[in-house]
């Protein structure tokens, strides 16, 4: 291999070839689909909350991509049906995730629709699940001697909050919970071929 220019051209060509298959063709398939009827765009508050989900790095422990029953028990765990590309048309940045240090959250709004539950859980997860290793986010809340007008008080057991003070949610916590409650893809799946259907369940032979 003594030629400099062919080395460069061939290297670039191979990457271009891979890019066609991994980026351009999937984009052509996915980018043309319409939003499912059951999926609404995020509201302003939900988008602000989503931005907090992104900047606090929730994605490093929580996936948002339930698997098919052929691959795992995600449906049985209440995480929802297998998602398809159509479920993410409003998502930028995407938050599919690669870890399940915590559970999948694509349908957390449907599974756990209580705002109060989420606020307590975000302030101190161990107030709800004693063995949880999720970090608390006390900086999304403030503590004060008494609740004032317009405050959203958060139920926190004694011993997990400063003595004699109440915990109230800041706007950032309320927005984040708005986003979590918006996570609900329980409508029927659109575009069922736009997902990895490479797993076949039991005796079925469909592919």
């Amino acid at each position: 291999m003594n030629r400099f220019v062919p080395l460069i051209l061939l290297s670039a060509g191979i990457l271009a070839f891979a890019t066609v298959f991994l980026v351009i063709v999937p984009a052509a398939e996915i980018r043309t689909i319409a939003a499912p009827e059951g999926l609404a765009p995020y509201t302003e508050a939900e988008l602000r909350g989503r931005a907090h989900y992104v900047d606090l790095g929730c994605v490093y422990c929580h996936s948002q991509q339930p698997r098919s029953p052929a691959q795992g028990p995600d449906v049985q765990r209440g995480w929802g049906r297998a998602s398809t590309a159509a479920d993410y048309v409003y998502d930028a940045p995407h938050l599919l995730g690669t870890m399940r240090t915590g559970p999948d959250l694509l349908n957390i709004g449907a599974r756990m629709p209580s705002r109060a539950w989420h606020l307590t859980h975000l302030y101190q997860p161990r107030a709800i699940s004693p063995t949880s290793i999720m970090p608390g986010f006390p900086f999304l809340f403030e503590t004060k001697p008494e609740v004032e007008d317009g405050d959203v008080e958060v139920q926190v057991p004694e011993g997990m909050r400063p003595d004699g003070e109440v915990v109230v949610a800041r706007q950032s916590a309320l927005d984040l919970v708005d986003y979590l409650l918006s996570l609900d893809r329980t409508y029927p799946a659109d575009e069922p071929t736009l997902r990895d259907n490479g797993f076949v369940e039991g005796e079925e032979t469909s592919g």
Binding site: L15, F17, L22, Y60, P93, D196, F199
Partner: protein, 530 residues
């Protein structure tokens, strides 16, 4: 749909396979004009000292000053300062990255520790750790290694060194700003692409200023042959800028489609950037230190092109079972398994040499780091090929097993090769030997044992976690709870690795401020060797 899936996967796979067949035919028919003697280029290009063990880390005997045909020194005083600055900055990023990684690791079993402010939360510290070690430590030191190795193997001095210095400065500043941005909550939000695109402009400009001098230098080579290390570096310098630009264009990608770009980029950062930086360096240091050429030079050509063909298409194995078309996932699974071809080619070349010269591996700390790193490259790649198989991936995906695998590649392989390279190159730049040789041995054993603990903990814990998660009869919480002792084990291993890094930094600081015996040309050394 069956038609589309079958056709697309088949076309891509067959084209890759055909390209490989043409390559093998060309090598067999000697269409490529090179032979096994070209493997000796590395001994001829730089100086006339010929073969024999070459370990400058503790040996004061120095080869004569290397000059190119125009009489210019291959490493000018300016290039020397530039390289030392790059290696120092990379080492600082490694220390900072280790600290962030260790704290993030401990937070997974001490969740109420340091929870008072957003910059201290796990999700941010983990992202800062990744960016510091990938773009600060590995990329910066990898580029520094290229700035030394490309002129050295091509027998010419570095062209446009001033531009390279500007590039190194921009890159260093860009990584620092990026880490601060992520920690204060300003992020693009994609794994491996967290640094905001506005700061990415600095990195792109810096990367270009570093790539151009290397490519120009390669055009001015004064040896007839580009040694295999050079192919990997030239390839990496073409691939990474393309990847970085396409993936970071703001507003272009959305939803599930963005996920394909995300993993096309992220896996290629490993496959077409960090891997060539590491393999290229190992291809030089192993034969250079041992003083014998690699096993089969023709095989190295096969390894390089097969890596380019197959590695570039493996990224979608990160989306197995996810919301992207089946055919693209299957394509990546197939190409991941095909990665056995280039990896075996590299393994045959590098391991036969280092395992056949174990006495040198034992005697030379730089070689020990590089040879172990090369072995772990083979291990990481074999593991990765198996991990991409659907049945295995179903267990390991979404678990700490994947984290262990990522560290086997980025740490066990690339970081160890870089440590070995630094132990070799820096004495040649400062013309002194390492002042604290016992720290080098401690460094080696601390990171070797620390990483073994790290890897085994997360691999076992992650596998059990995956099995528990797939078992519908067990509450999901069990899959998390059972990992705790393994996460604690990982923190122990990480702490030992970090301690090793501190010892390296102490040695680097000492040699830079003037400690260590001076090296002198062999001819002037009259006293017999002790």
């Amino acid at each position: 749909m069956g038609f589309t899936i079958g056709t697309l996967v088949l076309v891509s796979f067959l084209v890759s396979l055909a390209a490989l067949a043409v390559l093998i035919w060309a090598i067999a028919r000697n269409q490529m004009s090179f032979d096994e003697n070209d493997a000796r280029t590395i001994f001829a290009a730089e100086d006339a000292r010929g073969t024999g063990i070459d370990d400058p880390s503790v040996s004061p005997e120095k080869a004569s000053q290397a000059s190119d045909l125009t009489g210019e020194p291959i490493v000018s005083p300016f290039a020397r300062m530039l390289l030392l600055a790059i290696f120092s900055a990379g080492t600082l990023y490694m220390l900072a990255g280790s600290a962030f990684g260790l704290v993030a690791s401990m937070k997974l079993h001490l969740p109420d520790w340091l929870d008072g402010a957003a910059p201290l939360t796990f999700g941010r510290m983990r992202a800062v750790h990744l960016n510091l070690v990938a773009y600060g430590w590995l990329s910066l030191v990898g580029i520094g290694m290229a700035l030394w190795l490309v002129p050295t193997i091509l027998g010419t001095h570095l062209r446009l060194a001033g531009l390279a210095a500007l590039g190194a400065a921009l890159w260093t500043i860009g990584v620092a700003l990026g880490a601060v941005a992520i920690d204060i909550g300003w992020t693009d939000g994609l794994e491996w692409l967290e640094i905001p695109w506005q700061i990415d402009i600095l990195l792109a400009a810096g990367g270009a200023c570093l790539a151009i001098p290397l490519l120009v230098t390669a055009r001015h080579r004064q040896v007839h042959h580009i040694y295999v290390t050079g192919w990997y570096y030239i390839g990496a310098l073409i691939w990474f800028p393309t990847l970085f630009l396409v993936a970071n264009i703001p507003g272009l990608h959305v939803g599930a489609q963005q996920a394909t770009v995300n993993w096309w980029f992220a896996h290629n950062v490993l496959g077409l950037w960090l891997t060539p930086l590491g393999v290229g360096a190992a291809y030089y240091f192993i034969p250079r230190i041992i003083g014998k050429p690699i096993y089969s030079y023709r095989l190295s050509l096969l390894g390089f092109w097969a890596l380019a063909l197959f590695y570039s298409q493996v990224g979608m194995h990160h989306l197995i079972g996810g919301p992207v078309p089946t055919w693209v996932v299957t394509l990546s699974v197939v190409q991941s398994v095909m990665m056995f071809v280039p990896v075996i080619a590299v393994a045959i070349n590098q391991h036969t040499l280092s395992l056949g010269n174990l006495d040198v591996v034992r005697a030379s700390i730089p070689l020990r780091f590089v040879a172990l790193g090369a072995l772990l490259y083979t291990a990481a790649s074999f593991q990765g090929s198996l991990e991409a198989v659907r049945s295995v991936n179903t267990v390991t995906h979404f678990t700490h097993y994947t984290v262990a695998h990522a560290h086997l590649g980025a740490y066990g392989f690339v970081s160890l090769v870089m440590f070995g390279g630094l132990y070799y190159v820096i004495p040649r730049l400062v013309e002194r030997v390492w002042p604290l040789p016992s720290l080098m041995v401690w460094h080696f054993w601390l990171v070797a044992i620390g990483f073994a603990i790290y890897f085994l903990s997360l691999t076992i814990g992650g596998w059990l976690q995956g099995l528990a998660m797939l078992d519908a009869s067990r509450d999901w919480m069990e899959s998390m709870e059972l990992t705790i002792p393994y996460l604690q084990g990982r923190s122990v291993g990480g702490a030992l690795m970090t301690l090793g890094h501190v010892l390296f930094a102490v040695n680097l600081g000492a040699i830079l401020i003037g400690y260590g015996a001076a090296r002198a040309p062999a001819a002037d050394t009259l006293a017999p060797a002790e």
